[in-house]
Symmetry: C2
Subunit: 213 residues, 2 copies
Amino acid sequence: MGNKGTALEVIPGAVVRRLPRYLTQTQYLRQQGVEWVSSASLAEALGLTSSTVRQDLSYIDFKGVAKRGYGTGGLEKVLARTLGVDRDVRCVLVGAGNLGRALALHEEFVRQGFKIMGVFDNHPSVVGKKIGRFVIKGMNEMADFVREQQVGIGIVSVPHAAAQAVADQLVAAGARGLLNLTTAHVHAPDTVSVVDARILASLRELAYAVKDI
Amino acid sequence: MGNKGTALEVIPGAVVRRLPRYLTQTQYLRQQGVEWVSSASLAEALGLTSSTVRQDLSYIDFKGVAKRGYGTGGLEKVLARTLGVDRDVRCVLVGAGNLGRALALHEEFVRQGFKIMGVFDNHPSVVGKKIGRFVIKGMNEMADFVREQQVGIGIVSVPHAAAQAVADQLVAAGARGLLNLTTAHVHAPDTVSVVDARILASLRELAYAVKDI
DNA sequence: TAGATTGTTAATCGATTAACAATC
DNA sequence: TAGATTGTTAATCGATTAACAATC
């Protein structure tokens, strides 16, 4: 209770959505051996203004140094801690279609600390089959699994029509965040965050940019 | 030149990002046989306010009817036309890793008019192999292919370090929109739109929501 | 007709940018 | 020291919401 002087408070949504990008860039720079980064160079790399970068970083518990910028090692660590990715984040994947398969097999997510604990699907013909190292389990096992393994995030990769029902089951089982890969809008209580991957929507947004040109 | 009375002008970015969602929902309702939808019910379905919905739809060339709402058939048609998805949109996919494979195999995108014309990869060991009906081509063939097939959208699904170079090649070949599936930020001229899929970033955003709970 | 729902203007809210004193 | 860069406040900008006359 209480915090040690540095008031962290709530971080605005717009800022939270940029923090992962600062983390990716800072990680990259640190791996390249770069020790200091200025707000101007972060801004340049990410297509922002230096003012936005400084404003954003003022929300996390890390101070830059005048004339030098931000130490990449420290910044990376604090960004990871702030986001909660300094330790494994437990996920389940629901829906073993093409997109689901791809995510389960994508090593990058594991490397970044997102641990897929189990893969579930409704379809009797795929239950028991394998995706990489995962044996696909039936939906009837999901709720207990999420509870027992203390899974935080559910990745919803099912057909549009099934999305809300799956989301409801995940929430009931205790998931606190949902990554929605479907085209459906998913309703959840205020205590549960939903982030939409919006892949089809992104393509449609691009179609608008591209059309009649 | 000029338009027939209804000034459409530029549609704000925030609105363009919601139009695909209205389209998805309207499509769904129309398929269910629903003929009219109100701003309040669209808002309820998508987690918005009815005010936002009416404001947004005022940007497209379609009028609702007092006391009845919006005709789903007409609304669907005009939304599709406004976004430029009333005809095939030609894409290429660069990078035949797990994520790229999944997109190439995902029938939903084809059904929605996004036509993958070709799949390209740098890696000699995969060139010539097949993904579904696609034979993977080498990167050396990409620029000519994009020009000849008049491809509008490039889907970038390569490792972080290769993202900018691939984007540059796509832009040089004439692509007008890029769907960026990598964690890298990609720079492009103002004439080219870039939309980031942000899958890892979304997971990290969820990690923040989920942490210490 | 009465009432429901649109379209639009004005008010509010939040996010971004500019500016600059503090500081290393 | 002089100059570069942060942290922060204030100003601007854009997006969302409220309100209500028009209308079917």
